[in-house]
């Protein structure tokens, strides 16, 4: 082992090539894309909710990347159309995730737009689905004797409601819910959207006027 | 090949130097191609389990599984030619599936041809028109003469479509364009069928009469459990929001009359057994089919247009020996008296008095 120089040069060259192809080129490609018309930036509350989402590690069980019909039946699951790079324009960093212990959440608001539902579900998932394995997040909620002005009371079935008093949502819970309710990327994908085309036809037909109107 | 001593020899480096490498390369490539060929052959010959190659059941396979090979298949809908003949076929199909509008002057109830001849007269064992077409002209005891297809369809209008209460007061006259169009449609459906044969799937099939006969009370239960959801608790069918019959009425003034084949219990039982409930043919037992057929044919319906004298005289002349409740007393009421037209229908009849002679 005495030819250090050529070895080092070769190693660096391989590294540089990989960085160029896997980081720099896609970065240039994606940065040139405008945010889709249907996507709006997060509000303050939603952005705070996104921080909560990150801090709770939701990513470890929930992906945010619906697949096309020839890869997975995500469409039938109600998870929405396959996502394109532009859908993550305001997500820095994106919360793509790799695990699907729970359902994909990129379009959770399209199928579950109810804030009340989300609050109940965050407080105690078993209150709705007795088979759910999602952790409950009681520490995002306060137990009060009576709801004060402006407090958001969580609707709970008798089996999970406290014996006395009410459960009200903390600011963190409200923020997280605001973020979840903002997750709706069901607007039509940009016609030339950046995505992996999979093994077959992966985009739906042209959107109908109804979709465009949304 | 692996036991070949020369193969082993070629493994040693010394042999490799002496040209064994080339030989080895040839062996390797040949073996690889042989493996590919072997695997391809195995897949082609279907000796590989399906799960291994990820092949699901395709639509074609399911279709092939349920259609027997010897069953005649009429041409596809989109195969109607673009020609004057094709236009007649299309008109015939329109009359067949939407009789009340396209032959409305001669329809005196709420039915369409396609209510009993399912899938536009294509479905086996629901009297498919391709099977009927190749058996006419033929002798029918019903009117004791040789019948052409036109004669036969005229009978359908007279009885099943109850033409006596139609605006015209009777079936289309001989030579009417309605027959031309319908016969064009039937002829086209029977494309490439052999003629003067009884094709598989002809008619409604036969269901033998159960040994114990039939029972109207049991039939009522079968009806409530299996039929009422579509045809209504009162058997009067159901309409959509625009008033169009989605499910046809089974008795009463808007159904077929006492002269129709379906008013015979054996015919109705065969149709029911082989076609009803829709999408679940064969789900009723023979006994249930007979019971429910008798139940729905034990209700009053428009009068037999052939009746000139009393009900008993008409029964002897036209229904004697048939499995029919016409002329019998059921639940204290003599069947066969006829319902008369519904008020809405009476308003559209050209000459109500002529169509409804006094008994």
């Amino acid at each position: 082992m005495n030819r250090y120089l050529p070895l080092s040069i070769l190693a660096l060259a391989i590294l540089a090539f990989a960085t160029l192809m896997l980081v720099i080129a896609p970065g240039i490609q994606i940065n040139a894309r405008p945010a889709p018309e249907g996507l709006r930036p997060y509000t303050e509350a939603e952005a705070r909710g996104r921080e909560v989402y990150v801090s709770l590690g939701c990513l470890y069980c929930h992906s945010q990347q619906p697949r096309s019909g020839d890869q997975a039946p995500d469409g039938e699951r109600g998870w929405g159309r396959p996502s394109v790079a532009e859908d993550y324009a305001y997500d820095q960093p994106h919360q793509l995730g790799t695990m699907r212990t729970g359902p994909d959440l990129l379009n959770v608001s399209a199928r579950l737009p109810s804030e009340g539902w989300h609050l109940t579900h965050l407080y105690q998932p078993r209150a709705i689905f007795d088979w759910s394995i999602m952790p409950s997040y009681p520490y995002l909620f306060d137990h009060k004797d009576t709801a004060g002005p402006g407090d958001v009371v969580v609707a709970l079935p008798a089996a999970h409601a406290p014996a006395d008093g009410v459960i009200v949502a903390s600011q963190k819970a409200l923020d997280l819910t605001a973020y979840l309710v903002a997750l709706d990327r069901t607007y039509p994908a940009p016609t030339n959207g950046l995505r992996d085309h999979g093994y077959g036809s992966s985009e739906g037909p042209e959107p109908t006027p109804a979709e465009e109107a949304r | 090949m692996t036991n070949d001593p020369r193969d082993r020899a070629s493994d040693t480096p010394r042999d490799a130097q002496s040209g064994g490498g080339t030989r080895k390369a040839i062996y390797a490539a040949g073996g690889g191609l042989a493996l590919i060929a072997l695997a391809t052959a195995a897949v082609q010959l279907d000796v590989v389990p399906r799960w291994l190659i990820g092949a699901g059941s395709s639509i074609e396979e399911t279709a092939a599984a349920t259609t027997p090979d010897d069953q005649f298949t009429p041409p596809a809908r989109d195969a109607i030619p673009d020609s004057p003949f094709g236009d007649a076929v299309r008109r015939g199909e329109a009359i067949f599936t939407n009789t009340a509008t396209n032959a409305g002057d001669h329809v005196g109830n709420g039915l369409s041809c396609s209510n009993c001849h399912l899938d536009g007269g294509r479905h086996p064992l629901s009297a498919p028109m391709w099977a009927a077409w190749v058996t006419y002209p033929k002798y029918r005891a019903k009117n004791d003469q040789i019948n052409t297809m036109e004669d036969r369809v005229m009978g359908c209008f007279t009885y099943s479509m109850n033409a006596q209460y139609s605006p015209a007061g009777g079936p289309p006259p001989h030579g009417d364009d309605i027959y031309r169009d319908l016969e064009s449609y039937f002829f086209w459906l029977a494309s490439k069928a052999p003629t003067n044969v009884s094709l598989d799937g002809i008619g409604f099939g036969k269901v033998p009469k159960p040994e114990g006969g039939y029972d109207l009370a049991r039939g009522a239960d079968v009806f409530a459990a299996n039929c009422a959801v579509c045809h209504g608790e009162d058997g009067q069918g159901q309409r959509d929001i625009n008033g169009d019959y989605t499910f046809p009425p089974l008795w009463g003034p808007d159904s077929y009359n006492w002269g129709a084949g379906m008013s015979r219990i054996d015919t109705a039982a065969a149709f029911i057994k082989n076609n009803m409930p829709l999408s679940q043919p064969g789900s009723l037992t023979d006994q249930e089919a007979w019971d429910v057929a008798a139940y729905l044919d034990s209700h009053e319906r428009p009068r037999d247009p052939r009746q000139t004298g009393t009900i008993e005289e008409n029964r002897l002349a036209n229904h004697d020996g048939d499995e029919i409740l016409y002329g019998q007393v059921v639940n204290g009421v003599l069947l066969g008296q006829g319902t008369g037209p519904s008020p809405a229908r009476a308003a559209t009849m050209a000459t109500p008095s002529a169509a409804e002679p006094q008994n």
Binding site: P113, A155, E206 | L33, D244
Partner: protein, 413 residues
């Protein structure tokens, strides 16, 4: 390492080295076979991607250019199930286009009717009809409505082609009529078309449950342990994705589903919780409330299903696999026949496809006679996507006000 008793044990000074062993031939065979197979797969996949890309390009081109023949096929696809391919309508149910005084009024009127729909009795060609026509505003584009209006006028009113409306006209019209709702029968049409014969009066509206404060409270605010209907199904009951559209579904059907959710005969955990908090009277009132809502469609073909196959299944069925046409039971154009057969038109494709899958798999089994289980089971996944997508593109069910006649039993089964 060699064993001690091995006679060929090397001497102490022997430096162990590994003799260069040839790779066994079978390993090389397999490697070559795999490489060959890999190249084949790459070639295969590359081909299908190219094909699908070309397909998409052709699709978008076809949509951009509406050809003159398009009118006929648009009519076939959207109008013929009710007005019939020959425009003769259905006796006592659907007005004819041939000989219609309304069609004679020109493409502008036709375009308005297509955009707004009709909800009330009207007299056409000497006959009076109930008049329930859906709005096609959400199902058709401006260019398609213009083309269709011209086609109908040209074919049945011998209108000159010069009178054809253009897509721009329709765009203007769309804005003009956006908030007007459906035509109130022939009475309102007669105000636009002076030449119409005398029209029947509109039936007097009854006290609709939408005026009921308790029902409105449930729909928009919820109650203790019950989330509000609107929080998931939308303010107008339009739904999205797997949350179904409720607007225009038969009242008795909605009531029965609520009942089944509570009893557990239809499984949906969220709805179980909601339905458990409702009284029987409230279920009935909610059913009536949503049945009378008339809302534009917000559904679309999102599952990449084959729309032609979906249309075939909906209109003709596929008898070779034992599947009758959807519309045979769910009514012409999928408007539904109460209480057993809900409307399908404009329902969200993911919801429809998911329900079909549930029936096939046995998770849902509250249908009469198990009809849907058998039918869904016969459909392949592609078929379910196709038919769900096709139904989603249909114009929404023209909901009927509580007063209007509708063959609907009130029994709460």
């Amino acid at each position: 390492m060699a064993h001690k008793s091995d006679p060929k044990r090397p001497a102490e000074i022997y430096e162990p080295y590994e003799e260069q062993a040839g790779v066994p031939l079978p390993v090389i065979w397999i490697a070559i076979a795999l490489a060959f197979w890999g190249v084949l797969m790459l070639y295969d996949t590359g081909d299908s991607v190219r094909v699908s890309l070309n397909d998409r390009a052709e699709d978008s081109e076809a949509l951009a250019n509406v050809t003159p023949d398009e009118g006929a096929s648009l009519f076939e696809a959207n109008c013929a199930t009710c007005h019939q391919p020959d425009g003769e309508g259905l006796r006592d149910a659907v007005p004819p286009l041939a000989g219609s005084e309304v069609v004679a009024a020109g493409p502008g009127i036709i375009a308005r009717i297509l955009l707004r729909g009709i909800d009330g009795p009207l007299t056409v060609a000497d006959a009076t009809y109930d008049g329930h026509m859906p709005s096609f505003a959400s199902a058709l584009s401006d260019a398609e409505i213009a083309r269709l209006a011209s086609y109908v006028t040209t074919r049945w009113a011998n209108g000159p082609d010069g009178a054809a409306s253009s897509a721009d006209d329709v765009t203007d019209l769309r804005g003009e009529v956006a908030d007007l709702g459906s035509f109130a029968g022939g009475m309102e049409l007669a105000r636009l078309i002076p030449s119409l014969p005398p029209q029947p009066p509109m039936p007097a509206p009854s006290a609709a449950p939408r005026d009921d404060a308790d029902v409105l409270q449930l729909v928009f605010a919820g109650r203790d342990e019950v989330w509000s209907c609107a929080s998931c199904h939308g303010d107008l009951g339009q739904g999205d994705e797997t949350t179904p559209r409720l607007a225009g579904l038969p009242a008795a059907y909605i009531t029965k589903q609520l009942h089944d959710f509570r009893e557990g005969t239809r499984v949906n955990e969220s709805m179980h919780l909601v339905a458990s908090g409702l009284t029987k009277g409230e279920m009935t009132a909610l059913g009536t409330y949503f049945a009378t809502l008339r809302v534009p469609s917000n559904a679309g073909a999102v599952l990449s299903g084959d729309l032609a196959r979906g249309e075939e299944l909906a209109l003709q069925g596929d008898w070779s696999i034992g599947v009758p046409a959807c519309f045979t039971c769910h009514g012409a154009s999928g408007f539904g026949v109460a209480p057993g057969f809900p409307g399908l038109a404009a329902q969200h494709a993911p919801y429809t496809a998911a329900q079909l899958a549930n029936w096939a798999g046995g998770e849902r089994h509250n249908d009469p006679l198990g009809l849907m289980a058998e039918i869904s089971g016969a459909l392949s996944t592609q078929d379910r996507r196709a038919v769900a997508d096709y139904l989603a593109t249909r114009p929404p069910v023209p909901a009927v006000a509580a007063t209007m006649t509708r063959m609907e039993t009130d029994d709460d089964q």
